[in-house]
C-alpha cells in the first residue's frame, strides 16, 4: 500500500561517476544507437544493416584518398569548432561562425582576385592571411561590441550577421562571376595558381591538417594555462564575480570574440586558399552550426573536440557512401546520423542523472 501512489520513477543527480563508468554509459549508448539504426535500416529498406555499417566504414577509410578527405573535412570543422569554443566558455553564445567563416573566405578570395597578378606569391599569401583573419575578427567584434556596450542579445545578433555575410558574398559573386551572368566565380587563378597555399610533400590537404593541429594545441593551452583563459572561465561562471575581482568584463568579451572571429577567418583562408580556390555563399556548408554541436558534445574541451569532430565527419562521409552504394536518398543517411547523435547526446543525461524506479510494493510482504 505504502508506495502505490508514488511516481513510477524519479530522477536524481548522480555523484561524480568514475571515468570508466561514464565511458561505459557512452559505449552502451553507441551500441544501442547501432541496434536501433539496424532495425530502422532493415524495416525501411530491407538491406542488411551490417553491410550498411561496413559501407559507412569504407566511405570514411576505404582508400588513402578517403582518409585524406576525412582528415581535411575534420580539420576545417575542428578549426571552426575551436573558434566558437572560447566564446562558449565565456557563456557568449556565438552562433555566427558561419558568417565569420564566410567573410574570411570572401577576404581571401578578394585578395586572390584583385591582387593575383600584382603581388609576388609570398606577399599575396601574407596579405591573404592578414585580411582573412582581420575580416573574421571584425565580424566577431561587431556583436561583441554591442554586447559589451549595451548588453544586446548575442545569439540573435551573431545569427543575423550570418545573413549579412551571405548576402555580402552573393553580391561579390555577381561582381566577379565568370562567365557573365553565371552566378559563380569558379576556380580563381586556375592556371597561374596565384594565392594558392603551398602543398606539402605533394599532399593537397596536409597543410590544412597541420595548421589546425597546431591551432588545437594553442587553443588548449590558451584556455587552460593562460591568464586570458582563466578570465574567460571566470566571466563564464559569473560576470559579477569577474567584476568583483577586477576583471574588465567588456574587454574580455571583445578580446574573446575577436579571437573567435579570427579563427573562423582562418578557417575561411584554409577553405579558399587551401582547397576550394573559390568562394560561394554555401562554402561554409553549415559547418558554422555543426561546430556548435562539436563544441558542446566535447564540453568545450579542445582535445575531446578532435574525437567529436571525427565522429561527425565520419558519419557524414559514411552517409555519402551509403547513398552511392545502395542508391538511397541522402535523407536516409541523415536519419541514421540523427539516431546516432540522439543516443550520444542522450547518454550525457544518464551520466549526469540517474533514474530510480519505484520499488515493487509486494517485495516487503
Amino acid at each position: 500500500m505504502n508506495n502505490h501512489n508514488g511516481p513510477l520513477f524519479h530522477i536524481s543527480k548522480r555523484k561524480n561517476l568514475l571515468w570508466y563508468q561514464a565511458w561505459a554509459i557512452r559505449g552502451a549508448a553507441i551500441l544501442l544507437a547501432l541496434i536501433v539504426c539496424a532495425a530502422v535500416t532493415t524495416l525501411l529498406t530491407g538491406e542488411n544493416p551490417l553491410s550498411v555499417y561496413a559501407t559507412i566504414f569504407r566511405g570514411a577509410f576505404g582508400t588513402t584518398r578517403k582518409v585524406w578527405i576525412l582528415l581535411q573535412n575534420m580539420s576545417i570543422l575542428l578549426c571552426i569548432s575551436l573558434a566558437v569554443t572560447p566564446a562558449f566558455r565565456m557563456r557568449f553564445w556565438n552562433i555566427g561562425a558561419e558568417g565569420q567563416v564566410l567573410v574570411g573566405s570572401l577576404a581571401t578570395a578578394a585578395c586572390m582576385i584583385c591582387l593575383g597578378d600584382k603581388l609576388p606569391n609570398w606577399a599575396l599569401i601574407l596579405t591573404m592571411i592578414a585580411c582573412s583573419i582581420l575580416a573574421g575578427a571584425i565580424w566577431g567584434l561587431i556583436p561583441a561590441f554591442f554586447k559589451a556596450k549595451w548588453n544586446t542579445n548575442e545569439t540573435l545578433f551573431t545569427l543575423m550577421m550570418n545573413y549579412v555575410a551571405t548576402q555580402l558574398v552573393a553580391y561579390f559573386v555577381i561582381i566577379w562571376e565568370v562567365p557573365k551572368g553565371a552566378g559563380k566565380i569558379g576556380i580563381i587563378n586556375q592556371n597561374s595558381m596565384a594565392g594558392w597555399l603551398p602543398q606539402i610533400g605533394g599532399q593537397k590537404y596536409l597543410l590544412n591538417v597541420l595548421v589546425v593541429a597546431v591551432v588545437t594545441v594553442l587553443v588548449y593551452i590558451y584556455l587552460n594555462y593562460t591568464k586570458h583563459g582563466y578570465e574567460i572561465s571566470v566571466v563564464g561562471e559569473s560576470e559579477r564575480t569577474a567584476r568583483y575581482v577586477g576583471i574588465k568584463v567588456g574587454r574580455v568579451i571583445l578580446r574573446t570574440m575577436a579571437l573567435s572571429g579570427a579563427l573562423c577567418g582562418l578557417a575561411g583562408l584554409l577553405l579558399v586558399g587551401g582547397t576550394d580556390h573559390t568562394v560561394t555563399t554555401t562554402i561554409a556548408g553549415g559547418r558554422g552550426f555543426t561546430a556548435v554541436m562539436v563544441s558542446w558534445l566535447a564540453k568545450f574541451d579542445p582535445l575531446v573536440m578532435i574525437f567529436t569532430t571525427f565522429l561527425l565527419v565520419f558519419l557524414d562521409r559514411g552517409a555519402g557512401e551509403i547513398s552511392t552504394v545502395f542508391g538511397f536518398n541522402q535523407s536516409f543517411a541523415d536519419i541514421l546520423t540523427g539516431i546516432i547523435l540522439f543516443f550520444i547526446i542522450g547518454s550525457e543525461f544518464f551520466i549526469r542523472y540517474k533514474l530510480s524506479f519505484r520499488k515493487k510494493a509486494n517485495k516487503e510482504e
Binding site: E47, N48, P49, L50, S51, A54, T63, R65, K66, I69, A170, I174, W176, V178, P179, K180, G181, A182, G183, K184, G186, I187, Q190, T275, D276, H277, T278, T280, T282, I283, G285, G320, S323, T324, V325, F326, G327, N329, Q330
Partner: protein
C-alpha cells in the same frame, strides 16, 4: 544457450548477406562509368540526368556509379578522384559549377575521360581528356513556345482577353546566356504564331529555389501574365500555375502529374545519346570532341507528350510541322528577320565564346541571316536583349 546460438546464427546470416554486396553490376565488367550530380532525384534537372545515365549504361551493359548531392566546390574534385580510384574510366558531371573542378581532375588523371555537361571551357583548355556537351535546346524551347502561342490564340479567340493583352511570364535563374537563349527562343516560338505577344522575365538568382520560383511565378501572374514558363529546376513555378489556373510550359520533364490542368508541354534535353556516344568512344579508344552538341536529329532535344486537357487544339500537328522545318534547316530559331534589338535588325554580333573574366567578345556569330547558336561551342551563347521582352529585374 539457445538464445546465444540463435544470435550467432543470425550474425552468420548477416555476414553471408553482406558478402553479396549490391553494386550496379551488369555484364560488361571491363568498363565502369562515374556520374557526379549536384542534387538528387528531387531536382527535376538532376532527375533528367540520372534517368539518362541509367538508361545509357544499362543499354550498353556497363557498370556505373552515381554520386548525388555533390556541391560545386572541392567536393566535386574529391568525388571525381574517388571515382577514378574506384576504377571509372569515363566520368560525367552535370552542373555548370562543377566545370573547374572537373578540369582540375582531368589534368591530374590523363588516362580518364572527363565529360562535363553545360560547360564552356573545353575548347580553350584543349585537354585531350576533357570535353563539354550541350544540346540545341533552343530548338526545343522554340517548339514549346509555339505550343504556348497557340494556347494564347485559343484564349484570345475565347474572349478571355484581347490580343494586346497577350503577355507571357518567365521565371529564370540567372541573366546567363543559357537562360537568355532559352527564354528568347521560347518567346520567338510563341510570337511566330501569336504576333502581339509580349513577355516579362524575372530572375531568382538560383538554379534551384522552390520558394523564390513560386514567388516569381505568382508575381508574374499578378502582373497580368496569361501563361508562364520557367528555366529553373524546382516545382515552384508549375505548382504556382496550377494553384492559379494559369497554363504552364515546363522544362526538364513533364510536370503533368502535379499539374494536370495547366501543364501544356515540356522541352528537355535527353542526355542518353551523349552518354552513349562518349562511353562508346572511350570503349573504342576514339577521340571525344571538345564540344558535342545534341540536336533534334540525335534525339537529344525532345518534347514530352502534349497534355490535351490544357493545350490548344492542333498543337501536336503544328509542333510536328515546325520540327520538320527546323530539322530541314529551312527554319532558323534566331533568324535576324524575326527579332530586333533597340528597333534595329541585328546584322552582326560578337559573342563571348571563349570564357574569360573580362567577358571579351571574340567571335562573330551572325551569318547567312541568323544567329549561329551552339555552333562555335556547345553551350548557348545568345545573350542579346531583344525587343518585346521586358526584364523585371537583372540583379542576378
Amino acid at each position: 544457450m539457445k538464445k546465444a546460438i540463435a544470435l550467432i546464427l543470425a550474425l552468420v546470416m548477416c555476414f553471408a548477406l553482406a558478402a553479396c554486396g549490391s553494386q550496379n553490376k551488369t555484364n560488361d565488367s571491363s568498363m565502369k562509368v562515374g556520374f557526379i550530380f549536384l542534387h538528387d532525384e528531387n531536382s527535376t534537372y538532376d532527375l533528367n540526368f540520372i534517368n539518362a545515365a541509367k538508361a545509357a549504361c544499362e543499354e550498353l551493359g556497363v557498370e556505373y556509379v552515381l554520386r548525388t548531392n555533390i556541391p560545386e566546390g572541392q567536393e566535386c574534385y574529391n568525388a571525381a578522384a574517388e571515382l577514378v580510384d574506384d576504377g571509372c574510366t569515363v566520368i560525367f558531371a552535370d552542373s555548370f559549377g562543377h566545370e573547374d573542378y572537373m578540369i582540375q581532375a582531368a589534368k591530374e588523371f590523363p588516362d580518364v575521360q572527363f565529360c562535363h555537361a553545360t560547360g564552356t571551357k573545353a575548347h580553350t583548355e584543349k585537354l585531350a581528356n576533357y570535353h563539354n556537351a550541350f544540346a540545341s535546346i533552343y530548338e526545343g524551347r522554340y517548339l514549346a513556345g509555339i505550343a504556348a502561342g497557340m494556347k494564347l490564340n485559343e484564349m484570345i479567340a475565347a474572349g478571355q482577353f484581347t490580343a494586346d493583352e497577350a503577355k507571357m511570364g518567365y521565371v529564370g535563374a540567372f541573366t546567363y546566356a543559357e537562360v537568355i537563349s532559352g527564354y528568347t527562343s521560347f518567346f520567338l516560338g510563341a510570337r511566330s504564331v501569336c504576333p502581339t505577344v509580349t513577355m516579362e522575365v524575372t530572375f531568382t538568382g538560383s538554379w534551384y529555389d522552390e520558394t523564390a520560383e513560386k514567388e516569381g511565378a505568382t508575381k508574374l501572374i499578378q502582373n497580368g501574365c496569361k501563361l508562364i514558363s520557367q528555366h529553373a529546376d524546382s516545382m515552384g513555378a508549375p505548382t504556382a500555375c496550377e494553384t492559379a489556373g494559369i497554363p504552364n510550359v515546363s522544362y526538364n520533364g513533364s510536370t503533368q502529374k502535379a499539374c494536370p490542368n495547366t501543364f501544356i508541354v515540356s522541352s528537355r534535353i535527353d542526355w542518353t545519346p551523349y552518354f552513349k556516344f562518349a562511353i562508346q568512344a572511350a570503349q573504342k579508344g576514339e577521340e571525344i570532341p571538345y564540344d558535342w552538341t545534341g540536336t533534334l536529329a540525335t534525339g537529344s532535344v525532345v518534347l514530352t507528350d502534349v497534355n490535351e486537357t490544357a493545350a490548344a487544339a492542333g498543337t501536336v500537328e503544328a509542333l510536328a510541322a515546325a520540327r520538320t522545318a527546323l530539322e530541314a534547316g529551312t527554319l532558323h530559331v534566331f533568324d535576324i528577320n524575326t527579332y530586333t534589338v533597340g528597333g534595329d535588325v541585328q546584322n552582326s554580333y560578337l559573342a563571348d565564346i571563349d570564357t574569360d573574366p573580362a567577358y571579351t567578345p571574340d567571335t562573330e556569330v551572325i551569318a547567312d541571316g541568323y544567329f549561329h547558336e551552339s555552333e562555335f561551342r556547345s553551350a548557348p551563347a545568345f545573350d542579346v536583349q531583344i525587343d518585346g521582352i521586358n526584364l523585371l529585374d537583372t540583379a542576378f
